[in-house]
């Protein structure tokens, strides 16, 4: 029997409410408001209260896929990464780095965003990087 309350941030709107993720035996079991968090002071909206549900949803896709002849196939990470790198490199080689666009995410962490723009600018070599702040 293992039980943890992990403080984290609600992934929905821009308020950034403090939440406690309830983990029982390694499984995400619930969400509680972090009562002492300055942003929400122990309150949450309906989305925050249910945030664990989107994580444990049966709809989650939990492995990389590659499309072949119009159909997805489950593959290992190495293969997925390799195929993607090869395809991107070929396109960059043929059409130049500005033929690639990158959309980063307003739902991902700062760290991931930082890496994605770094990836675009340094690995691909393009400033074609944007996200859906406007949408």
């Amino acid at each position: 029997m293992d039980y943890q309350m992990v403080p984290s941030i609600c992934p929905y709107c821009g308020v950034g409410c403090g939440v406690l993720l309830e983990v029982i035996d390694g499984k995400l079991a619930g969400t509680l408001p972090l009562k002492t968090h300055p942003n929400n002071e122990g309150k949450l909206c309906i989305k925050g209260w249910n945030l664990h549900e989107h994580v444990v949803s049966d709809n989650r896709l939990l492995f990389p896929l590659v499309k072949e002849e119009g159909r997805f196939r489950e593959v290992a990470w190495d293969e997925a990464i390799e195929i993607s790198a090869k395809r991107l490199k070929a396109i960059i080689e043929e059409f130049g780095p500005d033929s690639v666009g990158v959309l980063t995410s307003a739902k991902m962490t700062n760290e991931a965003n930082y890496l994605i723009q770094k990836f675009s600018r340094a690995a691909i070599g393009t400033n074609n990087v944007d996200h859906c702040a406007r949408l």
Binding site: Y3, I24, L34, G48
Partner: protein
Amino acid sequence: MNMMHEIVKEWLEQEKIDLFIGYKVVDGHPLPCFFTRENIDDVDNLVESKARYPLEKIAAKVYSTHPEMKIGILARDCNQRALNVLYVWNQLDPEKIETVGINCCPSPAREHADCSYLEREPSGPLKTLIGIENNLKPEQAEVYSQEERFKRWSYEFEKCIKCYGCRNICPVCFCKECSLEHSDLIKKGELPVEIPIFHLVRAVHMAGRCIDCGLCEDACPANIPLRLLYREVNQITARLFDYRAGTDSGQSPFSILGENVTLEPMSL
């Protein structure tokens, strides 16, 4: 190491309990935490915590998957009342629970008032004018005329943003399916919630069940005086059935309506 730490350690060591639910401070925030025999030194970090969480609800969650487990729990008066209610409704086995009591309570359900949970800030002027003050006692709310009362409560209900937090945090709400979410009973997908049925349905469910811990009101983003509402329905239950939730332990209010019932009709 204080006495609380000693007791908990002793219980864990003597296998009187398998785990203890209390609080521990993480980055300046007190968080609910489990203390176990394997991490017995961690017990030194056990604190009472000013922030209150529904520990007994967590215990019930544990019980539902690990019914064999013996659970110790840090219990304020409110936790103790909640435990009693959960025993009544078969959500926890009193045989499996040991409590370390903390003597405190701001609820009229108990008299003494040295609780870390203090009275709320006094309400702002507008709330006094058109809403219901959170600190009002039921008798004080009764001075409003029926119409006035309805208007004031409607104002309070109007603010609801339908987070369901009052229910989610409630230590004595355990249903797998909640009437508040029956779309035929209460309209869905709209704000404000359907007034007043949303809050009255919840109030009906709190009758004979609410232990006046105040967690709902703490969690309410709209500052609705829910405690007062539930105190009102609880008073009716006490008057009609002589049943006080959380303090009358051992029997469900349904069992009171047992084989020999003489109900004197009384006006509400």
